[in-house]
Every structure is written in C-alpha cells, then in structure tokens.
Amino acid sequence: MDWGYILSVMVVSAFGVEAIVFGLAAIGVNMQFGYTGLLNFGQSAFMAVGGYSVAVTVIEFGFNFWVGVILGLVIAALLAVILGIPTLRLRADYLAIVTIAAAEIVRLLVRSVTFKDFFGGSDGKQSFASGFFALSPLASDVSLRIGPVALNNRQIFVLIVGWAIVFLGCLLVWLMVRSPWGRVLKGIREDEDAVRSLGKNVYLYKMQALVIGGMFGAIAGFVYAVGNEAVSPDFFGTDTTFFVYAILILGGAARVFGPVLGTVIFWAIIQGTDVFLRSAIDVGVPVISLMNGTQAAVVRFMLVGLGIMLLMIFRPQGILGDRKELALDAR
C-alpha cells in the first residue's frame, strides 16, 4: 500500500478548498451555536446564497464578480433576518426546524426545472470566476507538488486567499467575542432570562449573531463557488450543514480556533479514510477488499455520523473546548 500517497492526499485535503469552505461555514455556526446557543441547521442555505449570488450575478446579469459578492452578503443577512423574526422568540428546537426547512426550500428552488434558466437546474452554474482569478499575481506556470498531488496556479491562489479569509474571520470573531457585546452573547447562551433582566434586548443580540453567522456562511459559499469554478445545487443539502456541525464539535465550540482545527482534522480523516480504503481494496487487504468502491466511499459518511454521536456523548467540548463553558441544554 502506498502510504506516501495516502499521507499526501491527507495533507492536501486538510488544507484544501473544502477545508476552507467548511471552516468558514463552521466559524459562522460557532458565532451562532457556540457563542449564542442558536441552532442554525440551515447553514447550507447561506452557503447556497453566497455561491449562487456570485454565479447568477456574473452569468445572468453580466455584472462584475464583486457585485455578486456584495449581493451575496446582503441576501444572506436578509435571509437571516427573515428566518430569525418568527423563531428567535421561540424555543431553540423551533429555530432548528425552521432553518433546516428553509435550507431545503433554497436547495429545491435552485435545482428546480422551473427556474432552470436562472439557476441552471440540477447542473448548477459554471465559469463565472474569471473576475476573481484576474487579480491573481501568480504566473500561469506556478505550481506546487505535495507528493504525487499537484496544484496549479489557480488552485494555489484560491488556497492563499481562502486561508487569509479564514484567519481574518477568526480575528474578527476573537475581537467580537472579547468585547462587551460578545459577553452578552455568551450570557444569552448561559441564561437568557438573566440577561433580559439586566435590560438587554436579547432578541436583537440573537438576531445580530444569526446575521453575522449567516454572512460567514455566504463567504464560505463564495470560496466554494470560486474554488470549484462551479456551483451545484446538491452540494447544499442538509448533510453539508451536519458536516459543519461535526467540524465545529470536533474542533471545539465557543473557541475561536475550534472551527479551523476541526476542519483540518475532519478533512484529513475523511479523505484519508477514502483513499486508504480504496488502495486497501486495490492491494487486496483481507476483509476490506470484500467491499466494492461505492461501499468504500460510504464508510466515511458512516464515520461522520458515528463521530458526531461519540463526540457529543463523550467529549462535547471537542478538542479545544471547555466543558464548563458549553452548557448545552434546551430552555
């Protein structure tokens, strides 16, 4: 078995586009769930808003790429407000059900035949990212090899910009949560009524956290769209949201670097498992080679599910978290 190849795939996946996309989405969910205790199960909808805003603005309206980015952020903020109005006054699980329903609505709309001319149906949208790559200072012959895996100049540019956004995002979150404003959020998570009795408008603070987290989701959508130079509707299913939660819980909720550490480890394990099983089947390792390729691809998703359960039961604070801080309970 080629361990060098497996290892290099793990390294590339740990710092690849997917790691950035899910890391940014997890930073958003961390703001909502980790710090404020809001269960947003519709993060994939915000990611779809980001991705499709860029794609549709460039292809259908012929505007500049950056107009799409601004539009995406505005629509994500509006979506958060629309979802927040009916649910933020209710119990936590109501927000969960409404956001997951909203995410399905968004996915069904963008993949529908009815709006195919606009959103591209189940094929999605392609080739709209040239406005972004025009900014790249990298010459077209720049490339990077990590073992047998090679990255071209476009991929390298996406990774550099993507990780820069991730760290800027972390910095922003760090500045926000250490401010008095951030302390109110944590207070809401711990005891909403106590914060209310101090004269704070809990509803407004929750709404702000929901909007900021949703905008991080949209930014994740931008990186996804640009990194793949395409958007496809079925990426934005509920499983994507659940992966984001798995990443956040793994890294540690309510910790600034939790989502980053979570996404790096998550993608290394996920893609590593896949490559490991595939090469084990090729080599003919006993037991494992009883599986076919399709089954091997499913194993990693079983691992995600099992991982979410085991983490939540035995180590809900994840790697970086503080168990005392994470008083997750329904109120």
């Binding site: 109501y94 709309l109 499983d239 390729g293 359960m309």
Partner: protein, 424 residues
C-alpha cells in the same frame, strides 16, 4: 459509566450489522444503461411494458423494449457519451412524456458509475383532458393517502417527543428500517408479503426498543441535555442512512408481490388495491393507537408522563417503563408507515430521510407532543402537498409545505391543537 456506554453503543452497532448482513451489496460487471418506465400520473406508479428505447453513441446502436415490470437495460460497449431515446409511439394510450423535450436524454457512462440510470418523466398524456375538479378529486385522495403515511411517522415522533423531550432526527431512519426489513424478508428471502410486513412492524418495534435501551436511556441517565441529544440523533441518522446505503445500495427496490397493479376507477379517482389496503391499514393502526393512549392504563400513564414526568413518577408511575413502551410503539408505527410508503415510492435508503422534514412540518403544525395534532397536521400537510400541484409545479410541492411550516410558526407557534403555553 463510559465503559457501559461504549458497550451499549457497541451492542447497537453489532446488532445493526447483523440485521443487515443478509442484504446483498449491489454489484455489476459491464457498463449498462437502464431504467424503469413508470406512469407517474397523479402519484401512482404503474410500470409500462413494451415501450422501445434506443441508445446511440460512439459508433454503437442498440435498442430494447421494457419488460413487464417496466424495467429496461441495454449493455453498452464501454465508457462514453450516449443518447437515449424513447419511442413515444410505443407507449400505451393516454400515457406520454410530461416534458416533451425529454424524449431524448444525453447521458454518459464514466467511473465510478457503471450502470447509468435514465428516467423518462412519464405521466398522463396531455392529449387526454381532465377537468380541474377531476384532478382535484384524485389529488385529494392521494393527499389523504400520503397524509396517513406521514401520520404514522408523525404520531411516533410526537409521543416520543412528548414523553422524553427528544427531537429525534433519526425517526425517518426507523421508517426506512421498517421498509428495508420488509423488503429483505419479502424480496430477499421469499416470505409472503403480508407475513413479511407483520414481521417488519415487529422488527421496527424491536429496533425502537434497541434505540432506547442502547442509546437514549443511558444518555438520559447521564443527564445529557436535550440539545446535545438532538445532535446525537443527527449523528445517528447520518450513520444509519449510510449504513443502509452501504448494505442495500442506492437504487430503488420494489416488493416481490403486488407491484404495478392496475388501478380501479371510482368516478374520477383511480386507486390501486395496494393504495386502498395501505390507507385502511394506516387508519386502523392510528385508531388503535389513539384508543390505546386514551383508554388503557399504559396510555393514561403515557399522558401523565408527557404532562409532567416528575409528578407522574411521584404518583407511582414507572417513567422508564412508559418511555420504553412509547419507543416500541412509536417505532412500530414508523416502520409500518415506511413499509406502506414502499408501495407508492419504492424502498430506498433515503426514503425516511426525505419524508422527515414533512413529518416535522406535520407535527409542528398540529402542535408538538399532541396526539390528535400530529394526525391532523399530517393530513393537512398531505392534502396541501398534493392539492398545491394544481397551481405550482410538482417538483416544488415540498417548498410550499415547508413554507407553510414557517408561516404557521409565525402566527401560531404552539400549532393548531397545541396548548397555548409559553414556548419561548
């Protein structure tokens, strides 16, 4: 404590693997293009036999006719792009493509796909005209039918929520379990369908017991929070769904018997015998459960626990016994719903997951934790889903239902029949 939890989880895992070891993984040798022709007019699924399909591409040309169960399969020489054309003239009278542009489908066969599935959207031929009222009558009946299937899932979800406070995202997987268990017994092991269905319901109840005893009961004993348990249920759902996919593959499966029966005409409404039996069984099951909860000692205890677990406990009710009862009952109902749904939608690894949000919509609409609310909410959702297709495209009917869920929460968060108590 950790060790016991691990042992319990391990037992759950081993039991699941053992249950599914009987299923055969999907496998195939050469590249093929195939599919199943079905008349999907108004929610029915009648196979179409004797229609001609032609595949052209890469210097290859082949054609076939669909079999009695509507399936067709053409072996192609290798990977590449192919054009698949359906000869509309060979379709039975009254059946046509719902999207005339889809008469030729361009597809490709490339790794990892070796067996490309091509679906032609078949339905009522536009040549045959029906009035809006006739359509509405058919849609009302199919809406009630779908609503009853939702109700079987929703009732279980609602009473489990009522007694334990758990919002169980893995409830859809219990429905899938019921359908897959029945299919395995029936199509895989040759057990007659009625017996397989009865065993399927019993196995689903046992699966519910296992869920509770292996996972939720230990978690309750540890004092795990409700939100944490909800996230655990998401992990369980993801795990189970992919476990089903692992052992059963991604294709849709039909039961060995009663597939593709001709519909009986009742005025404008056409129903297959399986539709009628499904509805009757669902109604009987719902009535029995409602009677059990309203009249029996155990049912009264259940309602007492829903109302106030500590008070019920201090009144001498064994709360854990009630919760076990509720889990077995709820899971058996969900399994029944899943296996009946297998008639109209066929059995697949994600059938329960796909219906889960509609179940949530139904339960929230009716009022979380109420019995009549779950049933009423389900019927409203089912009717709404079908009747809105008169105005909006069928592919967007779930959008309408989920949108209504959001609106209901805006104006009446405690649901239609829920008690007006503080939910915030």
């Amino acid at each position: 404590m950790h060790r016991r939890m691990m042992a319990a989880l391990g037992a759950l895992f081993v039991a699941l693997v053992a249950l599914f070891a009987l299923a055969q993984p999907a496998s195939a040798e050469g590249e093929t293009i195939g599919g199943r022709l079905e008349n999907r007019a108004e929610g029915t699924r009648t196979p179409i036999s004797g229609a001609t399909i032609t595949v052209v591409g890469d210097g290859f040309e082949g054609s076939t006719t669909s079999g009695d169960d509507g399936t067709w399969l053409i072996e192609v020489p290798g990977q590449g792009d192919y054009e698949v054309t359906l000869d509309v003239a060979t379709l039975p009278e009254g059946v046509g493509l719902t999207d005339a542009e889809k008469v030729t489908v361009v597809t490709n066969v490339k790794p990892p796909t070796k067996n490309r599935i091509v679906i032609f959207p078949l339905g009522q031929s536009t040549a045959k005209t029906t009035t809006v009222w006739e359509q509405a009558a058919q849609l009302t009946v199919s809406g009630i039918q779908f609503g009853l299937m939702i109700a079987l899932g929703a009732l279980g979800l609602s009473i489990i929520y009522g007694t334990t406070g758990l919002t169980n995202f893995a409830h859809g997987e219990i429905m899938t379990f019921g359908a897959l268990a029945t299919w395995t017994l029936n199509a895989g092991m040759g057990v007659p369908f009625v017996l397989a269905a009865i065993l399927g319901v019993i196995l689903s109840g046992a699966f519910g017991w296992l869920n509770n005893a292996g996972l939720w009961k230990p978690l309750r004993k540890r004092g795990t929070g409700l939100i944490a348990m909800m996230i655990v249920s998401i992990g369980l759902a993801l795990f189970l769904r992919n476990l089903f996919l692992f052992f059963y593959g991604g294709d849709k499966k039909a039961y060995a018997e009663y597939a593709g029966l001709a519909g009986w005409e009742f005025g404008p409404v056409s129903l297959t015998p399986t539709d009628i039996v499904s509805m009757a069984v669902a109604v009987v099951a719902l009535v029995v459960v409602v009677l059990v909860v309203q009249k029996t000692r155990m049912g009264k205890a259940t309602r007492a626990v829903s109302d106030n677990p500590s008070l019920a406990s201090s009144a001498g009710i064994n709360v854990e016994r009630v919760i076990t009862f509720v889990w077995v009952l709820g899971a058996a109902l969900a399994g029944l719903g899943g296996l009946l749904l297998g008639f109209s939608q066929q059995v697949s690894f994600q059938m329960g997951f796909q219906i889960l949000l509609l179940i949530f919509a139904a339960v929230t609409l009716g009022g979380l934790g109420t019995i009549w609310g779950a049933i009423l909410g389900s019927l409203v959702v089912g009717l709404f889903l079908q009747l809105t297709t008169l105005v909006i495209p069928t592919e967007l009917k779930s959008v309408g239902a989920l949108f209504v869920l959001i609106v209901i929460l805006l104006v009446r968060p405690y649901g239609l029949l829920g008690r007006r108590e503080r939910v915030g």
